[in-house]
Symmetry: C2
């Protein structure tokens, strides 16, 4: 054992991603995840409601980071600028997790049910961004459109970020996607 140990939650996540990658999400049990992490099932359930939450448990915190960023943006910022800054903040928070994100994406790509869950998560982010824009006084359809376009850019940027040879940070790729939307329309 190395001197440094990640926290229990992090060890469980590592173990789960390894096992899901080796044998597929469906085939892995919570008992096996706990064992691989050198922890008990009881500890697992202190951190995660079920094995799916290992893959999606971080989504809520990011969603709150997004809405908090939107609320805190300068009053005179344009809607898509506000959304872009919020997504860039989320991107920065994810940056050190690139290798985990790559493994997570491969696991999700192999399982239709997890793909659905991922779509639902992103739709929920879009709804939250829209609500946060409405709370700033941005009206619909502008609020909804800025939120949906922002999430579309996030998805595209995320895919580029986890591509095998990419070295560019996620926040930068999000900015590049938003910039490219501008050029798409001209």
């Amino acid at each position: 054992m190395s001197r440094w140990q990640p926290d229990a939650r992090g060890r469980l996540e590592q173990a789960a991603l390894e096992l899901f990658g080796e044998r597929g999400f469906e085939a892995v049990t919570v008992a096996e995840i706990a064992e691989r992490a050198g922890l008990t099932e009881r500890t697992f359930f202190r951190h995660y409601a079920d094995k799916r939450e290992v893959l999606f448990g971080g989504g809520k915190a990011l969603e709150e980071l997004l809405t908090g960023s939107v609320a805190a943006a300068p009053a005179d910022a344009a809607p898509l600028e506000v959304v872009g800054a919020a997504l860039a903040a989320a991107g920065a928070a994810l940056e050190e997790r690139r290798e985990l994100a790559r493994r997570r994406s491969r696991i999700i790509a192999a399982n239709p049910e997890l793909q659905e869950r991922e779509l639902i998560k992103l739709a929920s982010w879009a709804d939250s961004l829209r609500s946060a824009l409405l709370a700033r006084g941005v009206a619909d359809p502008t609020a909804r459109l800025a939120a949906e376009v922002g999430i579309a850019c996030f998805r595209v940027a995320f895919e580029r970020w986890i591509a095998p040879k990419n070295r560019r940070p996620l926040a930068e790729l999000i900015g590049a996607s938003l910039g490219e939307v501008a050029s798409l329309t001209t």
Copy 2:
């Protein structure tokens, strides 16, 4: 009975939307749909694999219309122009179904499983648009971004189209959303 009768498929759809609206999607059986339409269950199953397909069976034809439009667009059209024209063609095809679309949307909004299915359908449309753009020689990430932004505009336009007081055609609202994306980014 009036002299004019919609085809069996149309009558089954009408009956299903009525019943889903009255009692919720889950509670309605195929036998009840067939009875309301004045047809047999056997006829139902000649047109639809199950009751969910009544709500989603048209999606594939629209998806083919989208990809066909992209393939047929002028060679020099910009990616988002190509996507916009394809979505406007789909919008025109849907125009006479506004009242059915309103009812369908209320049914879907009341049922999380149907909402997931709707998200999957739209993600599939985005994938098909992207593939059709790639086939035209548009590279990623531009192809993916144009497809995702297009679908985002479609969703926003669709919601406006089925709003109670709206009288504007869907194709026009799609164009307005795409135009608004341009103004969001400036």
